[in-house]
């Protein structure tokens, strides 16, 4: 069964039809990049996957659970599906180490010693072990985002969602974050769904590229086809043309 | 920080000085009688919440009662047939300050003559011989003021009335609650906050007339002569009120008013109240 499956999903904000006829399957371990102009619905789409946004119609199965069914325990889904936000959303009142250890402790009831060991390993992996005692406000954007990734990884999720993870960063920090993400894409069996404008990243590690506009999926290609061949959709081609030249 | 506090301290000291000076300053005063004759008006401070003595009639927004009628009669005696009587509502708490700052010329508001008060104001001779009594719910085991002298008993009174001071002599063991006015005190009695309400019998009779189910018991246990209070030093005005009272008594007007207001009150000693 697919990790994430959208089956004729519709989403409305009041009368506004934000997501139209979404049909999409993402398999275990795939790294999928979601691109498109602003207002295309890509952020909305990714936020439906962990239930931050509800869907009104269709079926949305994530890790075997149907999100459209209100009996579904959304917290269970979120144990396995982590999210990294454009504005990091680190816990402002907790230290870096606490940020990483909090959820495993109270949600997974992980043993404290094991929790700390794993947390320090993750911090080390993202290159910030020496910042463990600091507070988010004391760190740069790039550092905060790497911590946010570590925080999500601490829950040992099957799937990670990234909602424009580098869009709020100064240019010189973008690479540090992308490197961490590439690392994850290559090393683990992690399913990744990434909303981004960073085409370099997409080219290097994405398995698939999805193009959205006006709430619809217009193009869904393997990365190879998208970048080396050509997208069949005209709109997608135009978009690609404009951003590649940067 | 220190600077701020110094400034504040200075301001406060200034305030206190100004306020205390203004309190002293008011003793150098005017001749109330002359002023009233000139304006052809006497301003009386009266009750507006006390049945039989001074009660606001909500239908025509006029205060009515024995004291109102007496004040009108006295005004005519002092200023002549066309003299005007103005009435300002007062409470036991506000009557003294209002007299002192000149808002009213005289107090005729169920005010008992006492030596302590005589230090602060000048009294006319008494115009009504009241006495302190207690009001209880019908069927109460309390039959007189001495029954109240038990620990745990609660007596209700009004702040500023000398009945709350007196009750301490007759029922020292009882707890005294001082409410802001008679209607508050009566409400408190009705909701069981206390066993008895104490004040002058005349006022209590008024309450029992309005509230069947509550009666005055035990008779009076003090003498509470009501007097008209004028600001200290206004001797001419005070003498004028005494003269007016004498004339009203002699003419039979006084007894007529007594009959008008107390003729139908159960238990009231009419004959004892008449004057010649």
């Amino acid at each position: 069964m697919a990790m994430i499956e959208f089956d004729d999903v519709q989403k409305y904000y009041g009368d506004f039809h934000a997501l139209k006829d979404i049909n999409l399957k993402i398999e275990d371990g795939e790294t999928v990049v979601l691109i498109g102009p602003s207002g295309s619905g890509k952020s909305t789409l990714i936020r439906t996957v962990n239930g931050l946004e509800p869907v009104q119609d269709g079926r949305l199965i994530v890790n075997g659970q149907d999100l459209a069914n209100n009996k579904t325990d959304i917290n269970r889904i979120r144990k396995n599906v982590g999210m990294v936000f454009q504005h990091f959303n680190l816990y402002a009142n907790k230290t870096i180490l606490e940020n990483i250890m909090l959820a495993p402790r109270i949600v997974l009831k992980r043993d404290e010693a094991e929790n700390k060991k794993f947390a320090m390993e993750l911090l080390d992996r993202v290159g910030l072990a020496d910042q463990a005692a600091k507070y988010p406000a004391q760190l740069s954007g790039g550092q905060q985002q790497r911590i946010a990734i570590a925080r999500s990884l601490a829950m040992k999720p099957k799937c990670l969602l990234f909602d424009e993870p580098t869009s709020a960063l100064d240019p010189e920090m973008i690479d540090d974050v992308l490197n961490v993400m590439k690392d994850i894409a290559r090393d683990s069996k992690m399913t990744m769904l990434v909303v981004t404008h960073e085409m370099g990243f997409a080219r290097e590690v994405a398995d698939r590229v999805i193009f959205m506009a006006d709430g619809q999926i217009l193009e869904d290609d393997s990365s190879d086809t998208f970048f080396n061949g050509e997208p069949s959709n005209e709109r997608a081609r135009q978009f690609l043309g404009k951003i590649i030249t940067h | 920080m220190k600077k701020v506090y110094r400034k504040l301290g200075l301001l406060f000291a200034l305030l206190v000085t100004v306020v205390s000076l203004s309190a002293c300053g008011s003793s150098a005063k005017k001749d109330v009688l002359a002023q009233d004759k000139a304006s052809n008006t006497i301003t009386w401070g009266v009750k507006a919440d006390t049945k039989l003595f001074g009660l606001m009639d909500v239908k025509d927004n006029q205060i009515k009662g024995f004291e109102i009628d007496l004040a009108k009669a006295m005004t005519k005696q002092i200023l002549g047939k066309n003299g005007k009587a103005r009435f300002l509502q007062v409470t036991s708490q506000t009557r003294m300050p209002l007299l002192r700052n000149g808002n009213i010329d005289a107090i005729m508001a169920t005010m008992t003559i006492t030596p302590e008060r005589a230090k602060q104001v000048d009294f006319s001779r008494s115009y009504f011989d009241a006495g302190q009594a207690i009001l209880v719910k019908d069927g109460s085991p309390i039959k007189n003021v001495h029954d109240l002298n038990k620990k745990g008993d609660v007596v209700l009174g009004v702040v500023g009335s000398n009945s709350v001071q007196n009750i301490g002599k007759y029922a020292p063991k009882a707890k005294v609650l001082q409410l802001t006015d008679y209607s508050q005190a009566l409400t408190a009695l009705k909701s069981g906050q206390g066993q008895a309400l104490t004040t002058d019998n005349g006022i209590l009779y008024g309450m029992s007339v309005e509230n069947p189910g509550y009666s005055v018991v035990g008779g009076t246990f003090t003498n509470e002569p009501y007097g008209i209070a004028v600001d200290k030093g206004q001797t001419k005005f005070r003498d004028a009120t005494n003269n007016a009272l004498t004339k009203i008594e002699k003419s039979g007007e006084y007894n007529r008013l007594i009959n008008k207001w107390f003729g139908n009150v159960k238990g009231f000693n009419l004959k004892g109240a008449y004057r010649r």
Binding site: N50, L52, N75, R78, K79, G82, M83, F85, H87, F88, N89, L90, Y91, A92, N93, K94, L102, A103, I106, V107, L108, A148, R151, S152, M155 | V16, V19, A23, S92, Q93, M96, P97, E116, R117, Q120, L156, V159, G160, S161, Q165, L177, Q178, L179, T180, Q184, T187, A188, K190, S191, G192, Q193
Partner: protein, 213 residues
């Protein structure tokens, strides 16, 4: 003024402590009740919102004295005997709780919604997120306005004077009538209120600075 303090020291002392006692009890319960209703206002459930709103609108818009009189007069008639002090303290508690609820709610809503999103995405339940992340942050924001509420509450405790609650204001009335020196009596009472509120004011300002750091 000194004579007032000398002659009525006992009454003033009693009034002082009754005011403090009433204020502390009322603040304690008003904080609990107010925070409770504030949380009800932010829970994602419309029915619960309505209940909270109704409570808050009732107690915010009815004068404190009216609420107090209800407990002083109506409750003893139908339910149970209740002293002036109790009636005044209960009235003060309910009245203040409505204002505290709004203050706390505003504090909670001022916390960046991203904090809740981050926590929920991390697997925390709504209540876990509130407890560990949102409420602690709201708390810091809410301290200065709550300090104001406390000072208002202390002043509002003067409602006890109307129900013979033996607080400072009640004693002020009694002393003013007994001594026939209204101005001095109320000046003394005013000073005693300042003795309670000024240090509190100063402390709140200090707390604000500390939290802002």
């Amino acid at each position: 003024m000194i004579s007032i303090f000398q002659n009525y020291g006992g009454e003033l002392f009693q009034g002082f402590w009754q005011t403090i006692l009433c204020s502390i009890i009322a603040l304690f319960f008003a904080l609990i009740i107010g925070s409770g209703f504030a949380i009800l206002e932010v829970i994602p459930n419309k029915i619960v919102h309505v209940i909270a709103k109704v409570y808050i609108e009732i107690f915010r818009n009815i004068p404190l004295l009216v609420i107090t009189m209800f407990f002083y007069v109506v409750i003893p008639m139908y339910i149970t005997k209740i002293s002036g002090f109790a009636a005044g303290t209960i009235g003060l508690t309910l009245y203040s709780s409505a204002f505290i609820a709004e203050t706390v709610r505003s504090g909670i809503q001022s916390v960046d919604p991203g904090q809740m999103e981050g926590a929920r995405s991390n697997g925390l339940t709504f209540w876990q997120a509130m407890r560990y992340i949102v409420l602690p942050q709201a708390f810091r924001v809410v301290i200065p306005p709550l300090g104001n509420q406390f000072i208002n509450l202390i002043k509002n405790s003067s409602v006890l004077a109307f129900v013979a609650g033996f607080d400072l204001m009640y004693q002020g009335n009694v002393i003013a009538s007994d001594s026939l020196q209204s101005m001095n009596a109320y000046l003394c009472v005013g000073i005693l209120y300042l003795v309670i509120t000024l240090p509190l004011s100063y402390y709140m300002r200090h707390l604000e600075k500390k939290l802002a750091a």
